[in-house]
Amino acid sequence: MSGERSTRAIAWLVYRKELRETLRDRRTLLVMVLLPLALYPLVGVGVSQWVGAQQAAREEQPSRIGIAGRPWPALATALAGKTLRSSELARPPAEREHALRAGAVDAVLTVPEGAEARLAAEGTVELALLYDETRESSSLARQRVLDALARLEKQIRAERLKARSLPPSLIAPLKTVERSTARPREVGAHLLSGVLPMLVVLMVLLGAFYPAIDLTAGEKERGTLETLFTTPVPRGALVAGKFLAVATIATLTGILNLGSLGLTVGLGFGAAFKAAGITGALIPWSALALTALALVPSALFFSAVMVAVAAIARSFKEAQNLLTPVYLVCVLPAMVAQLPGFSLTPLTALVPVVNISLLARDLIAGKAQLLPATLALVATLAYALVALRIAGRIWQSERMLFAPEQRPGAARRAPLRPRPLPAEAAFLLLLVMALILLVGNPLQARGLVSGILVTEWGLIALPVIALVRFGRLEPGAALGLRVPSPRALLGALLAGASAWYLVGVLVESVQQRVLPIPRELLDEIRKTLFSVERPLAVDLFALALSPAICEELLFRGVLLRASWRPSAAGARAASPLATPAAVVLNGLLFALFHLSIYRLLPTFLLGAVLALTAMRTGSILPAMLFHLLNNAAAILAGRQASGVSLEAAGLGSSFSLPLAAGAAALFATGMALLWRSGEGLRSGPAGPRDP
């Protein structure tokens, strides 16, 4: 029967059915049609009207100028009018600023004693203008005062020249007439090209999100996929039809959003741009049409990725959990592409998502070039094909329909997972590093201790907790939160208290020869990290306890569990790496995470030893204790002596052989205890305790 029918005909049949059904889904329609057609114009016009009204109100509101000193008549006249209200501010100098801060006046102009006489003697009068740059009304007042003073100055200058019968050109040897060659609409397009592509890429992704889930995991959950798979049609045709339906919805969503945004911006924000002297159509419709065309390959790419990922899930909710990180991974490059300094080159044209965002930006700004544009489109299509092939493979597998653990009569709700996926862990690490770069580091520059606390708890621990909570992970197993044996704790105590010294010796003997730490950096570390001005308890909490808990949750919790295959779990475990490789990887990631080439070696060693500790003891708690003691010892030593780094503080030139031998002995004993304390993490959520 079906032998004579082509796969294409069946895919077309599936496509039409899926499209029809999806377009009857309220949620899809909401995202695809209602959001762009109603929300943007409403919000856009509303915002623009509000901004316009605010601006008009501000412009009508006269600025209140407090005048300290006695203004001469011409100045008093210049500072009176529709937009300026001057009043005498008879307060001592210290209180003038207070009046400005309290909002009693918008600016304070101080007129020196004898100003009028000095002017009459053809001297220069120095006027002091006090204003608050952070207050818009104050900035406006400043501008208005400066304008008034400029007019007054011009008048005085003209009078002085006239008194000497000199021409005005004497003091105006140059006159510059400037004109921007950018057409008004290019300015507008330039402003919009920054935001629009990101919004549209985001909407294409959102357009693919729900249909991809509904047509795969949703169908599985509703029990219709099983029926569909008993029909005599190739699965390739089924996945092709579904993929095309998702891609169509995503494309339509993108185009509708683009059109609606373009229209909203053209109509709603037009007033705002007009006020700024920009007139005419902001984005030509031809540019919008080209951008819409460029969206098609990206819609194909996102749809293929989402259909592939959602097919792995067993339920709608699980698919949502899986696709949310995918969504974020796609959104981040789209945002990055909008940063200044990025442009569409043959190289960036090969980076997925970034290329389409940059291309859309160039198309809207009317600056797209043929070669990189073509390359970006071809590359995106190629990625879409690869993703589609992967989706096809997933659909062929039995796992697609029935997960191995899914037995007849099993509960519908997916159980908590014992371990995170490698992709989830990788995404988490990238997210945390991006957050630290963008938020944590600037905060630490403003205030070290508060910055570190926000970084550790808010930017490291919180995302880990969010992954466990929303990724439906079993916290005990996924993070290794288990009660360790007393032997494991004793081992961590000994090894943790001595490790910093040994790492320090190594840094001193190896690193200082290969890659010496600059003196200035050492001084900086000593000054900031080992400051005796802060209470010791604060330092221990911020620099020892917080990293010990938060960084361990990320590195020896999520990352280790996602990358390591315990021998007990055998070949069927999903995680790819055996113990040695996982230890090295964990150390490397920990080293890279610290973003300092001077700390690469110590942080790598520390990370690897901590990974080994977590593996051997079956718990993350000994690793936390180890990390805490290591940092605490370094802080204590660093406060007394000259620090080298957090891992190797207190050494400097004060190396002592007996001390090193003692530390080595303690460390070896500690590691031996850790090594013998258990077989390592179990694969199950509630594995047997260590013997």
């Binding site: 029967m1 079906s2 032998g3 004579e4 029918r5 069946i10 049949l13 059915k17 029809r20 059904e21 009857r24 889904d25 509703r222 029990g223 219709t224 099983e226 029926t227 569909l228 798979f229 008993t230 029909t231 005599p232 049609v233 190739p234 039995e398 329909l401 029935f402 191995p404 653990e405 037995r407 007849p408 009569g409 055998g570 069927r572």
Partner: protein, 252 residues
């Protein structure tokens, strides 16, 4: 030309116990074969392997004379499959749903329309044809599902607990439909929890326990062998005997 399964085997976990092991059975045209067993016995796994939804770890299957491994599409075309949890496309009307499946089975539009008329009259859902599937009651859904399964007039029917969750009236409706199909020479494999239903409906039954077929024959023969008054009684005795054997085997 019904169902033939030889030495079927399924392992989900290479290290764990098999879900189904060494299972052979044959269902001929004009026969209703009941697959019975406690929860977790391997019924659904067996039916899924027979329907080509799961790849067997070992063994062979023929559906309507076609080997499932090498002629999957022809085998599926000869098969109608229905489960108790079968869902319908909620946002399609009954007619659209049946039209879609008819097209997937390769029927011409005119043939689909004719079959929809026949089946909606036979299964009494003609007034529901334009209604969205989301608006159907459980009994109505099962009637539409039955129509969906036999739309292409398959020679073989596999029904996995088709009466689960149905009331007496709806269950009787399904039973009548199955008998009617037998009358028209179809080979029917039927799994159920309800012993009375199996006793009334099935020509032969196969009893599954822990993935193995522990008994096969007619319901009267099973009752006679175990000197039981009802099939349910016989089933329980057989299970107890099988468990006793399993307990003594490892030490033997």
């Amino acid at each position: 030309m019904g169902i033939v399964a030889r030495e079927l085997c399924k392992r989900f976990d290479p290290a764990g116990p098999p879900a189904v092991e060494g299972l052979s059975l044959e269902v001929v045209a004009g026969e209703i074969y009941g697959l019975i067993g406690p929860n977790g016995a391997g019924k659904t796994t067996t039916l899924r392997m027979l329907a080509g939804l799961m790849q067997p770890s070992g063994g062979e299957v023929w559906i309507g004379g076609h080997p499932l491994a090498s002629e999957a599409e022809a085998a599926r075309a000869a098969l109608g499959f229905l489960t108790g949890t079968t869902g319908l496309y909620a946002r399609l009307s009954v007619r659209e749903l049946l039209g879609y499946f008819g097209a997937l089975y390769g029927l011409a539009p005119a043939a689909v329309a004719r079959r929809i008329d026949e089946l909606s009259a036979l299964l009494q859902f003609a007034p529901l044809l334009e209604r969205r599937c989301a608006a159907l009651s459980t009994g109505e859904r099962q009637r539409v599902s039955l129509a969906r399964a036999v739309l292409h007039d398959p020679r073989v029917l596999i029904l996995d607990e088709p009466t689960a969750g149905l009331d007496v009236v709806a269950s009787r409706f399904v039973a009548d439909f199955v008998r009617d199909a037998r009358g028209r020479g179809r080979a029917i494999l039927f799994s159920t929890h309800y012993m009375t239903e199996a006793e009334l409906l099935c020509d032969r039954i196969g009893l599954l326990h822990a993935g193995c077929k522990i008994w096969e024959g007619t319901p009267p023969a099973l009752k006679a062998e175990l000197e039981a008054s009802s099939l349910e009684d016989a089933f329980l005795r057989l299970l107890a005997r099988s468990e006793r054997q399993a307990a003594t085997e490892p030490s033997a």
